[in-house]
Amino acid sequence: MPQYQTWEEFSRAAEKLYLADPMRARVVLKYRHVNGNLCIKVTDDLVCLVYRTDQAQDVKKIEKFHSQLMRLMVAKESRNVTMETD
Protein backbone atom coordinates (compact mmCIF):
# COMPACT_ATOMS: atom_id res chain seq x y z
CA MET A 1 0.00 0.00 0.00
CA PRO A 2 2.17 2.86 -1.27
CA GLN A 3 2.13 6.00 0.86
CA TYR A 4 3.17 9.04 -1.10
CA GLN A 5 5.23 11.85 0.39
CA THR A 6 4.55 14.33 -2.39
CA TRP A 7 1.22 15.43 -3.77
CA GLU A 8 2.56 15.44 -7.33
CA GLU A 9 3.42 11.77 -7.34
CA PHE A 10 0.21 10.81 -5.62
CA SER A 11 -2.10 12.68 -7.98
CA ARG A 12 -0.34 11.33 -11.06
CA ALA A 13 -0.45 7.74 -9.84
CA ALA A 14 -4.04 8.10 -8.66
CA GLU A 15 -5.28 9.48 -11.94
CA LYS A 16 -3.52 6.69 -13.79
CA LEU A 17 -5.13 4.10 -11.53
CA TYR A 18 -8.57 5.57 -12.14
CA LEU A 19 -8.13 5.72 -15.91
CA ALA A 20 -7.04 2.09 -16.01
CA ASP A 21 -10.49 1.00 -14.82
CA PRO A 22 -12.92 3.86 -14.08
CA MET A 23 -15.73 1.67 -12.79
CA ARG A 24 -13.59 -0.09 -10.25
CA ALA A 25 -11.58 2.76 -8.77
CA ARG A 26 -12.85 4.93 -5.91
CA VAL A 27 -11.54 7.89 -3.96
CA VAL A 28 -11.86 7.98 -0.18
CA LEU A 29 -11.16 11.01 1.96
CA LYS A 30 -10.86 10.99 5.75
CA TYR A 31 -10.75 14.22 7.71
CA ARG A 32 -10.13 14.53 11.44
CA HIS A 33 -10.60 18.01 12.86
CA VAL A 34 -9.46 16.83 16.31
CA ASN A 35 -6.02 15.83 15.05
CA GLY A 36 -5.96 18.33 12.23
CA ASN A 37 -5.10 15.84 9.52
CA LEU A 38 -6.36 14.52 6.25
CA CYS A 39 -5.88 11.26 4.42
CA ILE A 40 -6.84 10.65 0.80
CA LYS A 41 -6.87 7.16 -0.67
CA VAL A 42 -7.44 5.95 -4.22
CA THR A 43 -7.96 2.24 -4.70
CA ASP A 44 -9.31 -0.30 -7.16
CA ASP A 45 -9.43 -3.00 -4.49
CA LEU A 46 -6.11 -4.39 -5.69
CA VAL A 47 -3.79 -1.43 -5.45
CA CYS A 48 -4.16 1.22 -2.76
CA LEU A 49 -2.53 4.65 -2.99
CA VAL A 50 -2.49 6.87 0.07
CA TYR A 51 -1.49 10.46 0.80
CA ARG A 52 -1.58 11.90 4.31
CA THR A 53 -1.22 15.53 5.26
CA ASP A 54 -1.78 18.07 7.98
CA GLN A 55 -1.21 21.12 5.77
CA ALA A 56 -3.97 23.57 4.93
CA GLN A 57 -2.57 24.13 1.44
CA ASP A 58 -3.35 20.50 0.53
CA VAL A 59 -7.10 21.01 1.04
CA LYS A 60 -7.28 23.07 -2.13
CA LYS A 61 -5.25 20.50 -4.06
CA ILE A 62 -7.44 17.67 -2.85
CA GLU A 63 -10.60 19.57 -3.70
CA LYS A 64 -9.29 20.24 -7.21
CA PHE A 65 -8.39 16.58 -7.54
CA HIS A 66 -11.92 15.55 -6.53
CA SER A 67 -13.41 17.94 -9.06
CA GLN A 68 -11.10 16.74 -11.79
CA LEU A 69 -11.99 13.11 -11.17
CA MET A 70 -15.68 13.93 -10.93
CA ARG A 71 -15.53 15.57 -14.34
CA LEU A 72 -13.80 12.52 -15.77
CA MET A 73 -16.51 10.31 -14.32
CA VAL A 74 -19.45 12.23 -15.73
CA ALA A 75 -17.94 12.86 -19.15
CA LYS A 76 -19.24 10.67 -21.93
CA GLU A 77 -16.76 8.08 -23.15
CA SER A 78 -17.48 8.78 -26.80
CA ARG A 79 -14.93 11.52 -27.04
CA ASN A 80 -11.34 11.48 -25.80
CA VAL A 81 -11.22 12.74 -22.26
CA THR A 82 -7.94 14.39 -21.44
CA MET A 83 -6.75 16.10 -18.31
CA GLU A 84 -7.80 19.69 -18.50
CA THR A 85 -6.52 22.40 -16.24
CA ASP A 86 -9.13 25.11 -15.90
Binding site: L38, Q55, V59
Partner: protein, 110 residues
Protein backbone atom coordinates in the same frame (compact mmCIF):
# COMPACT_ATOMS: atom_id res chain seq x y z
CA UNK B 1 -27.79 4.99 3.80
CA UNK B 2 -29.83 8.05 3.02
CA UNK B 3 -29.94 9.05 -0.64
CA UNK B 4 -30.37 12.80 -0.98
CA UNK B 5 -30.54 15.48 -3.64
CA UNK B 6 -27.19 17.11 -4.35
CA UNK B 7 -27.99 20.35 -2.55
CA UNK B 8 -29.33 18.59 0.48
CA UNK B 9 -26.32 16.29 0.50
CA UNK B 10 -23.99 19.28 0.72
CA UNK B 11 -26.01 20.82 3.55
CA UNK B 12 -25.92 17.56 5.47
CA UNK B 13 -22.20 17.22 4.75
CA UNK B 14 -21.54 20.59 6.38
CA UNK B 15 -23.53 19.38 9.35
CA UNK B 16 -21.38 16.24 9.54
CA UNK B 17 -18.24 18.37 9.62
CA UNK B 18 -19.63 20.52 12.40
CA UNK B 19 -20.67 17.52 14.42
CA UNK B 20 -17.20 15.98 14.19
CA UNK B 21 -15.29 19.06 15.27
CA UNK B 22 -14.63 17.84 18.80
CA UNK B 23 -14.18 14.17 18.05
CA UNK B 24 -14.50 11.77 15.19
CA UNK B 25 -13.71 11.62 11.48
CA UNK B 26 -15.58 12.56 8.36
CA UNK B 27 -15.29 10.11 5.46
CA UNK B 28 -16.08 11.17 1.90
CA UNK B 29 -16.12 8.71 -0.98
CA UNK B 30 -16.37 9.38 -4.70
CA UNK B 31 -16.98 6.74 -7.32
CA UNK B 32 -18.13 6.46 -10.91
CA UNK B 33 -21.72 5.25 -11.08
CA UNK B 34 -23.60 3.54 -13.89
CA UNK B 35 -27.10 3.98 -12.57
CA UNK B 36 -27.59 0.40 -11.40
CA UNK B 37 -30.26 0.36 -8.68
CA UNK B 38 -30.81 -3.37 -8.35
CA UNK B 39 -28.36 -6.06 -7.26
CA UNK B 40 -26.81 -8.17 -9.98
CA UNK B 41 -27.73 -11.86 -9.59
CA UNK B 42 -24.85 -14.36 -9.54
CA UNK B 43 -25.83 -15.87 -12.85
CA UNK B 44 -26.45 -13.54 -15.73
CA UNK B 45 -27.32 -9.88 -15.55
CA UNK B 46 -30.24 -7.60 -14.79
CA UNK B 47 -32.65 -7.44 -17.70
CA UNK B 48 -33.20 -4.25 -19.58
CA UNK B 49 -30.47 -2.26 -17.89
CA UNK B 50 -28.54 0.32 -19.85
CA UNK B 51 -25.39 1.42 -18.04
CA UNK B 52 -25.39 5.19 -17.80
CA UNK B 53 -22.11 6.88 -18.43
CA UNK B 54 -22.52 10.31 -16.97
CA UNK B 55 -23.02 9.86 -13.23
CA UNK B 56 -20.95 9.65 -10.13
CA UNK B 57 -21.80 8.64 -6.59
CA UNK B 58 -20.81 10.66 -3.54
CA UNK B 59 -21.00 9.18 -0.08
CA UNK B 60 -20.27 10.71 3.30
CA UNK B 61 -20.15 9.24 6.77
CA UNK B 62 -19.18 10.19 10.28
CA UNK B 63 -18.92 6.66 11.58
CA UNK B 64 -22.62 6.49 12.43
CA UNK B 65 -24.69 8.40 9.93
CA UNK B 66 -24.39 7.73 6.21
CA UNK B 67 -25.55 9.99 3.39
CA UNK B 68 -25.16 9.78 -0.35
CA UNK B 69 -26.03 11.52 -3.57
CA UNK B 70 -25.77 10.95 -7.30
CA UNK B 71 -24.31 13.72 -9.44
CA UNK B 72 -24.77 13.65 -13.19
CA UNK B 73 -23.15 15.71 -15.93
CA UNK B 74 -25.94 18.29 -15.79
CA UNK B 75 -25.28 19.14 -12.14
CA UNK B 76 -21.52 18.80 -12.13
CA UNK B 77 -20.57 22.48 -12.38
CA UNK B 78 -22.99 23.61 -9.70
CA UNK B 79 -21.99 20.79 -7.39
CA UNK B 80 -18.30 21.38 -7.92
CA UNK B 81 -18.52 25.06 -6.96
CA UNK B 82 -20.57 24.35 -3.87
CA UNK B 83 -18.30 21.47 -2.88
CA UNK B 84 -15.18 23.58 -3.31
CA UNK B 85 -16.60 26.28 -1.00
CA UNK B 86 -17.66 23.64 1.48
CA UNK B 87 -14.22 22.04 1.76
CA UNK B 88 -12.55 25.41 2.09
CA UNK B 89 -14.91 26.43 4.87
CA UNK B 90 -15.14 23.18 6.81
CA UNK B 91 -11.64 21.73 6.56
CA UNK B 92 -10.00 24.55 8.40
CA UNK B 93 -8.29 22.64 11.20
CA UNK B 94 -5.07 22.03 9.32
CA UNK B 95 -1.71 23.72 9.76
CA UNK B 96 -0.98 26.80 7.73
CA UNK B 97 2.50 26.63 6.30
CA UNK B 98 4.06 30.07 6.48
CA UNK B 99 7.71 29.26 7.08
CA UNK B 100 8.77 28.30 3.57
CA UNK B 101 8.94 30.81 0.77
CA UNK B 102 6.46 29.84 -1.92
CA UNK B 103 7.05 30.95 -5.48
CA UNK B 104 3.29 31.23 -6.13
CA UNK B 105 2.52 33.76 -3.46
CA UNK B 106 4.54 36.90 -3.00
CA UNK B 107 5.90 36.72 0.50
CA UNK B 108 7.92 39.45 2.14
CA UNK B 109 11.48 38.16 2.61
CA UNK B 110 12.59 38.05 6.22
Amino acid sequence: MVLLESEQFLTELTRLFQKCQMSGSVFITLKKYDGQTRSIPKKGSVEGFEPADNKCLWRAMDGKRKISTVVSSTEVSKFQMAYSNLLGADMDGLKKRDKKNKSKKAKTPQ
